[in-house]
Symmetry: C2
């Protein structure tokens, strides 16, 4: 299959030129800022893509699930941080097994949760490296900055635990009103975490890693004094939400979905062969309607059902049955999780495909 | 793994007692109504489950994508209707290949679209059975009832096409205000389609199948005179949306997600290890907030990120790290599409698992 025109639809297409530029640009920012880059590979779930990130200077990767880490370990990736509160004895056994194949650390935001992993490592005469999650304002998981020293102290005393550092995620940047607010969130993200690290060190506990992360805040938070590591994920692909947030331009989006118009039931309505089982139903961030932008058109996907993408046709535009279009999804990370493979292209030329090897590894 | 308590989380659990009751009840409704039942297997994508539906008296199954039909053909399923406007020469080749392994028909709502398939069948000296989609008020795909005779006439004259009948889908029932409106939509669904069939027959074109479908409207539309077939999908599992719509009770929901509390960062907030990559971000229908109900609790999932389900803890309830809960998802059909396997249980006892063999077959 040498050209995009030869592909059947819907197909997820990754433009390698754009991808490589995105990888290179973030690596350069990290280098200039003097911080380690540990990209979150949940965005792509593809070991080959992680190797490009590592070749560009990343020190390791971040993941959320043990099953993902197992896939990446099988592919030869050697350094993973599970940026997630890993909890439970069954999971501890698997982390212990992984720790004999790769350098692995986990996140924690509670003593009770971390103890379920530490106990298993302790029984094996080992210690698992842990980073304490601190809430920098997203209010999802993580201890409050005020509770960071106390929790860090208790984690550091737990059997089977070695405290590597602290981490945070400024997910609230995805709900920000504009670049100014994102820049403010990025500074706060770095400052809150660096301050927590300073207070923990003042209590006599070493903090080797101060790790921030999120694509919209990456450039801003990397520049904060005391930050040692950054974990952006989405930047490899970008998506309509990143364009809306002002993180990037349309030309920086590497992932699109090639689709076919299967029905034009009315002049104001056209239907594509990509629905929520292809694009996901994730909303556009920070706000806004619709489920995907059609490249080169003003018309957008107004609603999705499972296999139908319903386009509200803008005045002056029209679509015909059989026509092919490219859709920029709202959220690239969840699109990856729906597909077994992505097609690799440079412009219109197809160069191969990658298997989304860690897709669906929810445990 | 003999009991649910032995499973790691998150796991998608299907209760076989509930599943079998759901299958039996819909089959009985169809039998009483004297219509053929052709369940939409997009809900489960599991050939073993389709065989239970066929054993209960279904005449065949419905699917949306050719790739799904290929998986079901490999599993020995012999009669499939692709209830979707199938368009394009590449797809025509695959439908032609399938037609030599099973009885297969496709949907169409345009002459241009159907011709792309008919041309390939004609060149092979064959004809593909087609059902014309009629819009009964959902306004997604389908010709208007007024255009049904004209389009049916043109389809019937196309080379390589044999018109089997007409079909519709009352998807707007998922946005209805209550049972009264759903019952009205169900009657209208059947009446519009039966009327279209009568007009097409009056023009001298045979109509063998008059096929309605959707779980909320199934019982009502089956009872309309002239309807010959019904294609509900979701009824095998049901979900929080069906309970909200009044289609079923909580006890009729066969699919739940077993999850673990991984963080309790504040008294009013708990976080489960299931996010949009496990539950999807599909909204609750017909309206309402949240992303899943926790069985036995008033607290619900207020928001999701990719691997986090954030519970808004109701007054008087509490959660602890490590605790396990069962989540009733908003929309079962999209949950199936996220997971490679579902666990089979009867009550607390695990009986095995099924592979979601047609998961991710978007083409």
């Amino acid at each position: 299959v040498p050209f995009l025109d030869d592909l059947d639809t819907p197909s997820v297409v990754v433009d390698l030129d754009v991808l490589e530029a995105n990888i290179g640009r973030m690596a350069a920012h990290a280098k200039e800022s003097g911080v380690r880059l540990r990209p979150h590979a949940k965005t792509h779930k593809i070991p080959e893509l992680a190797r490009l990130q590592l070749a560009a200077g990343s020190t390791g990767i971040s993941l959320a699930k043990i099953g993902e880490a197992e896939v990446f370990a099988d592919a030869g990736i050697e350094d993973v941080f599970l940026a997630y509160p890993v909890v439970g004895a069954k999971k501890a056994d698997r982390v212990l097994a992984l720790s004999q194949r790769m350098r692995i650390a986990i996140g924690a935001d509670s003593v009770a949760g971390a103890a379920t992993i530490g106990d298993v490592f302790h029984a094996a005469g080992r210690r698992i490296e842990v980073l304490l999650k601190v809430d920098c304002g997203y209010h999802r998981v993580g201890v409050s900055p005020e509770a960071a020293v106390t929790t860090a102290s208790r984690l550091a005393e737990l059997p089977g635990i070695a405290l590597r550092g602290v981490f945070t995620h400024a997910g609230h940047a995805y709900h920000a009103s504009g670049r100014d607010e994102i820049d403010r969130i990025a500074r706060t993200e770095g400052e809150i975490l660096a301050q927590a690290a300073a207070e923990i060190r003042a209590a006599g506990i070493p903090v080797a890693e101060v790790s921030v992360g999120s694509t919209p805040t990456a450039r801003g938070s990397m520049g904060v004094a005391g930050v040692t590591e950054c974990r952006p994920g989405n930047y490899v692909y970008h998506d309509a939400s990143q364009v809306s947030l002002g993180t990037c331009g349309l030309g920086d989006c590497a992932m699109t979905v090639l689709a076919t118009v299967v029905s034009v039931p009315a002049p104001e309505r056209a239907v594509l062969d990509c629905g929520s089982k292809t694009l996901s139903s994730d909303p556009l961030r920070p706000r806004g309607e619709g489920h995907g932008w059609i490249l080169g058109r003003k018309s957008r996907l107004a609603s999705l059902s499972e296999e139908h993408g319903v386009v509200r046709v803008e005045p002056g535009e029209s679509f015909r049955v059989g026509e092919r279009v490219r859709v920029l999804p709202n959220h690239a990370c969840v699109v990856s999780n729906l597909h077994d493979r992505v097609v690799l292209a440079r412009g219109d030329r197809v160069e191969g495909e990658w298997r989304v090897a860690a897709r669906g590894r929810v445990r």
